[in-house]
Symmetry: C2
Subunit: 200 residues, 2 copies
């Protein structure tokens, strides 16, 4: 059976959201499964001295325009929320709590939150908004909050992030397929070719 695709994403990344809308269908067409991995790119940036494109004034306007154009190009509804970007570690901790029980549930939670944020403008950094999303998803909001304040799940997310940096991940979305790294939503055409015809 062909190896699963590692899909590193960040809950605050518009390009991660766009990729999250096509990766499952693309993988399935090629008999692959997807292993979703929530990371915090901000922590990666800190560890590596990188910066978000949004922190460079000359890149910021282009990036905001490109997020929406790239979404239209992919046929994905996207509206950058008024408050953007926001810290999303709480959604990521719930992701790993769900993941360690059942990875498929965690990937559904990821899509639920990414769509809420980037298609409906939900603020994932707002405690009551995130509790509402947890309830919509069928979780007990109080239990979700207990998870994201629990040092054990904070540590789990930090360990995942550290492992990602060690594995060479420096942004999101980031894909690893058959040990081959692909960075960015815009590597989709190369990923498609790789899945169709193998290494090139």
């Amino acid at each position: 059976m062909p190896a699963s695709i590692d899909f590193y994403f960040d809950f605050s990344s518009p390009y991660s959201y766009i990729a999250s809308e096509w990766i499952e269908a693309l993988a399935a067409r090629h008999g692959r499964t997807v292993h979703w991995k929530a990371i915090l790119v901000g922590a990666t940036f800190q560890a590596t001295g990188l910066k978000s494109p949004l922190d460079h004034p000359i890149k910021r306007e282009y990036s905001l325009h490109d997020f929406e154009r790239s979404a239209r190009f992919a046929g994905v509804p996207l509206k950058i929320p008024n408050k953007f970007p926001v810290p999303t570690q709480n959604a990521a901790r719930v992701f790993w709590w769900l993941h360690d029980k059942e990875p498929a549930t965690a990937s559904h939670w990821a899509r639920h939150c990414l769509r809420a944020c980037f298609a409906r403008g939900a603020d994932l950094s707002d405690v009551s908004a995130l509790q509402g999303l947890a309830a919509e998803f069928g979780l007990d909001p109080a239990q979700a909050q207990a998870v994201w304040t629990d040092p054990a799940w904070k540590a789990r997310l930090k360990a995942v992030n550290d492992a990602a940096i060690t594995a060479g991940v420096f942004g999101a979305p980031f894909f690893v397929i058959d040990n081959e790294p692909f960075w960015g939503n815009d590597r989709r055409p190369q990923i498609e070719r790789w899945l169709e015809k193998g290494p090139f």
Copy 2:
């Protein structure tokens, strides 16, 4: 007649080289011409506080791999030279000297130098190598050298760079089509859609 495509490129940029190999044919298929503009992305980085991906250790290895993979994906021969990156302002000054007499000649010079560098390993920062390329191109090598040491052509290149930064250009390759900015060789699919069907 549809507007010409502004194509900003850097003689030291592998992604610029890859794009330089497809932009003319793509433009021609859609009845467009291409206005080539040599810039120095290093100067842009300095002005804007940006850094080359090669200066970030964690990105460097990925970038070197991605240059060659992206070239194979585009069907373009590429081998990163042993000495890389190198300063390329001399080639760029000759470009603008040729450009101000006849832009088409300048774009041929650009392709001549980009191919020499990225397909054959020529060192564009080496004076005698660049003189040799000038001779191959049918220029008088001594005259070419007089151009690239001439304060007037230094100033011309600096003015172009400053204008590019003012126009929002922060990397290479960078395309402006009907006032729409596209950054990167990997925006090719979006550029193709724009040329085929207009704004999206």
